[in-house]
């Protein structure tokens, strides 16, 4: 039962990432693209966790944690750059 649910959840997350990719290319403003990238990172974290359950290892949690931190820092840096024209003042 878990195997089927896992496949379903992975398909959902993959479709979500495709939708994010659509917004990333389409997005009329730079803020849209930042938002699409941020959402994509969150979906990638979800996918990594699902993959970890699929493989029954806890090795991938570190990757997910790192991706969460780096993704937030990246989003903050992009937005800051748009706001101030500089990342670190």
């Amino acid at each position: 039962m878990i195997a089927y649910a896992l496949i379903g959840a992975m398909a959902c997350v993959s479709a979500a990432m495709l939708l994010n990719l659509f917004r990333l290319f389409r997005g009329p403003t730079a803020a849209d693209r930042i938002l699409a990238l941020d959402t994509m990172v969150i979906n990638a974290i979800a996918f990594i966790i699902l993959f970890g359950i699929h493989e029954t290892t806890t090795t991938y949690f570190e990757a997910a944690l790192l991706l969460a931190m780096v993704g937030f820092v990246g989003t903050a840096a992009y937005s800051k750059f748009l706001l101030r024209g500089d990342v670190v003042e």
């Binding site: 959840a9 979500a16 659509f22 941020d38 974290i45 979800a46 944690l65 903050a76 937005s79 706001l83």
Partner: protein, 149 residues
């Protein structure tokens, strides 16, 4: 298969499906909604909830199948739930800034814009209210005037 394992299986499967559905709904909102201010709602709420649901599923799965319980999932959940509103706020600020500095380019997407503040008051992201600053900082306050660009 014992009764406890069946319950655990049902709970894990339900959480996994719920997480996938929420992630998909959030991203669908991101692709479909008309303006950035409404688009912000999808990823910040639904997708974060979807990831949280997947993490809870993994938090149930590993102890149920004889692995050690770890705090990694809790850490990731906590971090995501703290950072999601902050990044959303930053993106909204960047969008408002873009609408102000290049209004013609963003005009069709500006339907989600909040009402502009009255008379000379400014958004938090724009310029500085000199009188207010003087009132707050007093005469000694020299808040780095070279920052103004």
């Amino acid at each position: 298969m014992s009764g406890g394992m069946i319950i655990a299986d049902v709970v894990i499967s339900g959480l996994l499906l719920l997480g996938g559905a929420f992630a998909l709904i959030g991203s669908w909102g991101l692709a479909k909604l008309p303006s950035l201010m409404s688009r912000l709602h999808g990823p910040t709420k639904a997708t974060t909830l979807g990831v949280g649901s997947c993490l809870i599923a993994s938090m149930v799965y590993f102890p149920a199948y004889g692995h050690a319980w770890t705090a990694h999932e809790l850490l990731i959940t906590l971090f995501l739930f703290i950072t999601a509103p902050i990044s959303a706020n930053l993106i909204a600020k960047a969008y408002l800034h873009g609408c102000r500095t290049e209004p013609d380019e963003n005009a069709p997407a500006a339907e989600g814009m909040p009402v502009a503040p009255p008379h000379d008051a400014d958004w938090a992201t724009f310029g500085r209210d000199e009188e207010l600053e003087e009132m707050i900082l007093g005469e000694t306050g020299d808040a780095s005037p070279e920052r103004r660009s």
